[in-house]
Amino acid sequence: MTEHDDSRDERLKELLDQTAPDRPDVAPDARVTAVADRARAVRRRQGIAVAAAVLAVVGAGVAVPLALSGGDDSSQQDVADDPAPEVAEPPACPAEPIDVTNGLAVKDLPDGAVSARLCPAAFRTMQGDVDFTLPTEPVTDGVDELLARIRDTREMPLPAECASIMVAPMPWALVVSYPDGASRTVGSTMTTCATVDVGGRQVSVEDVIASVEDAVGESPTTTPVAECPRPGAESGTLVAEPDTFTGDLADLDVTSGAVCYGVDPQGTAEYAETRGFLEGVDLGAVVDDVVAGTTAARSRAFDCIDTGPTRLLVLVGDRGRLTLTDDACSGEFAYAGGFWVPGPAAQAALVGALGGRVGG
């Protein structure tokens, strides 16, 4: 670290220290009380759920007073001593990335799991510099359905393009947790152009990840997130999903963006990743550029062989999804609102989301 860096770091520390107020509005003792009340409320909610289950089986019983108890400390102690299991919170991802150097196969994924979540992983030759961009939110609703979908994933040959391109690794692991504390983990060093062993069958890593992403996206408490469509089974080409938003882009209130890359057999461009996500300033730069730079007619002619869409920009907001398609190997995107050639900042964000250009 240089003296210049030290100075910059110190300045940032000063700014952060000035930004954080000196003290909160709540006194420590009041906070302790609030924390205890919130924890007990969680227990009471669980107690009600347990009581409801008991009632369903044996009819009316003594569980109701237990479930509805509360108030003085002694009654809360009774609730706290309730032998019912603790609220099952999905385990966090391990502090240290899971080693998937040799891949992690799983013999089976039985029903009954309480959660499943994607976690960062590592492998010995490339550990360290890979940003993990997959969603790490746990799937807690419909876990059995997710596992069934993974178990039922068909074995399919990898797309032909996988034999001729270089794909950057992104090690990942899917951790499936069961009520008794046991877990099963499957994982790979790659998110595309690779298979993983599930129950003795080699299934596409993309299918496994897509299943988890779908399950995360279906969570009722999760904000919609832009995702890339799954490549066509045979050709691997990108096929945009229908727009669900047809108004002015400026009204979409974009909250999430994804950039998708379909391998161009002509090699006009190659990127390290086949999909990436736009967030924060990068997403803002792209959306602003689209809004400001859209034209009614194409501004670029193309003289290369059109091999189908090579890039998709998927934008998602509270009001729906809109996809822009770089469909003519010219670098110009088309969408319902017109045509758009990315400016320098937007182009840098798109390329960055795909991990940078590696050829073409």
């Binding site: 909160p24 966090a92 960062p120």
Partner: protein, 179 residues
């Protein structure tokens, strides 16, 4: 049973909250940019801690250190989870000076507005790394542990976050002397 309802365990939890919660709340404020959300976030993290207090080892000599590491991890993970669910569209509140006419407080309110504006533009992961590394003064390894990511990710996220902050229009002048 691990909750510190009464007795020495309860007293130890109270002591921990009394000793450390102001610092933890300030971190939560930098993550959320809002006093009330910071309190909500901190309490949620403390609830998780409270329910595991016995396992955290309140009786050991390093209990506060262990508990604080646990709370910081809970803060970071809860923040990244809630951010998706509830806190979209966060905008800096541009709080007024706490005492009208106080020049220092007015200047501090301006800094607060500018820094929160810049922080709001960061991806949540970068923001969390920034707060843990530069405000909480955690090492890269401690930050990686708190966020459940690799040290390499912490380094790259911190670098990107710093670059974004320095190029943020809101902070251009604030970094001027150090640039």
């Amino acid at each position: 049973m691990s909750e510190p309802t009464t007795g020495p365990a309860g007293a130890a939890f109270d002591d921990f909250v009394a000793a450390r919660s102001t610092a933890l709340w300030r971190s939560a404020f930098l993550l959320t940019g809002d006093r009330h959300k910071a309190e909500d976030l901190l309490q949620a993290a403390l609830v998780k801690t409270w329910r595991r207090w016995d396992r955290i080892g309140h009786g050991s000599s390093r209990s506060h250190e262990t508990a604080e590491a646990y709370v910081r991890r809970a803060l970071a993970t809860t923040y990244t989870d809630w951010w998706r669910r509830r806190w979209r569209g966060e905008l800096p509140t541009g709080e007024l000076p706490e005492r009208a006419g106080d020049v220092d407080e007015a200047a501090r309110a301006e800094v607060r507005h500018d820094v929160l504006t810049a922080l709001a533009a960061l991806p949540r992961g970068q923001r969390a790394v920034l707060v843990l590394r530069y405000f909480d003064d955690l090492t890269e390894q401690q930050t990686a542990d708190a966020l459940g990511v690799s040290v390499g990710t912490v380094k790259s996220q911190a670098s990107r976050a710093m670059t974004a902050l320095r190029s943020s229009p809101a902070l251009t002048d604030r970094f001027g002397d150090a640039a």
